[in-house]
């Protein structure tokens, strides 16, 4: 769904996180967390003509996002200031993303999905920083070291898997694949590789396709892989 939103205006001075947050703390007017009933088209039109930062519409959306995040992040043990920060981050992202609203759901449902994605991504980024990116750097080290070489006790299948990882994947593919297997967030892999999350997904998807084809050429059947995977699930 296209919009005529002036994103430069929406990203203007008053919408800069710090100032907006300060104004929220100064001015805790009661704002309903229920969104006013509007059609999707009315929402987009209203946001398109909203005064940047000072809009009651933005206040209304932010209050709703706060409520949504209070629910979708309830297991994260966050303080109210954290929720406020994430709500501010989310409203900025939302206003930048209006063009991506497809109109196949209620606007409020789309707002909830975008806000939740923004908040989770930010929390994953913060966690990576707090742990000094340890999991990523370990995965990088392991993926680049001559560590995938087979050892004597490996089965034929395991030896072929190690050899295929070594021979078929690029360095970046090995790092990203191993990091994801170890639960390193996509956002961190993207930032470490100087890339973005979509590119990381494609990198690893291509790696999986390459591995599967190369294993097939080495005589490893899909059934053998399934059986090996099931053994892991049973341990």
């Amino acid at each position: 769904m296209g919009t005529g939103v002036d994103s430069s205006a929406l990203d203007g001075e008053r919408l800069r996180r710090g100032e907006l947050r300060r104004s929220r703390l100064r001015d805790r007017r009661p704002v309903s967390t229920r969104l006013t009933q509007r059609t999707n088209e009315e929402w987009i039109a209203a946001l398109s003509s909203a005064s940047p930062g000072s809009s009651s519409l933005v206040d209304e959306l932010t209050a709703y996002i706060r409520r949504v995040l209070g629910s979708t992040l309830k297991n994260k043990a966050l303080k109210s200031d954290d929720i406020e920060d994430l709500a501010q981050e989310s409203i900025l992202q939302l206003l930048r993303s209006l063009d991506s609203f497809r109109g196949d759901s209620a606007f409020s449902t789309w707002v909830a999905a975008v806000a939740t994605r923004t908040a989770y991504t930010e929390l994953r980024r913060r966690h990576a920083r707090e742990t000094n990116h340890a999991a990523y750097f370990q995965a990088q080290e392991d993926a680049l070291a001559e560590s995938t070489k087979s050892e004597g006790e490996d089965s034929d299948l395991v030896s072929k898997l190690y050899a295929t990882i070594d021979d078929s994947l690029t360095e970046k593919q090995r790092i990203a694949t191993l990091a994801l297997l170890r639960g390193v967030p996509t956002i961190e892999i993207a930032e470490q590789l100087g890339s973005n999350q979509n590119a990381v997904y494609k990198l690893v998807h291509d790696a999986r396709l390459r591995l599967r084809d190369a294993l097939e050429r080495r005589g490893v059947t899909a059934e053998a892989l399934d059986q090996f995977a099931v053994q892991g699930g049973q341990q």
Binding site: V68, S71, A106, Y120, Y162, L181, R208
Partner: protein, 81 residues
């Protein structure tokens, strides 16, 4: 430390699930609102429209975590309709 056997087994599971064409996390997010308004229906009644969505869900733990939180918020009545 090399890639562990356990990691190879997880990778093997993923290789078995790999499709030539897959949606990425951004495309998954674009489909999420429509899914949220229908997820209480039986999967079969959603038709093939969400096939790629379900596939992505099975291989992406981050999108799965977010969707579970959203579905729970929806069930709890915390999302406006």
């Amino acid at each position: 430390m090399r890639i562990s056997k356990k990691e190879l087994q997880t990778l093997s599971t993923l290789l078995g699930m790999t499709e030539v064409v897959e949606i990425n996390c951004e495309e998954f997010l674009a489909m999420t609102p429509a899914y949220l308004e229908k997820f209480e229906l039986q999967e079969d009644s959603l038709g093939g429209k969400f096939k790629s969505f379900y596939h992505h869900l099975s291989i992406c733990p981050e999108c799965r975590e977010e969707l579970e939180a959203l579905c729970e918020a929806k069930r709890a009545g915390h999302l406006d309709a």
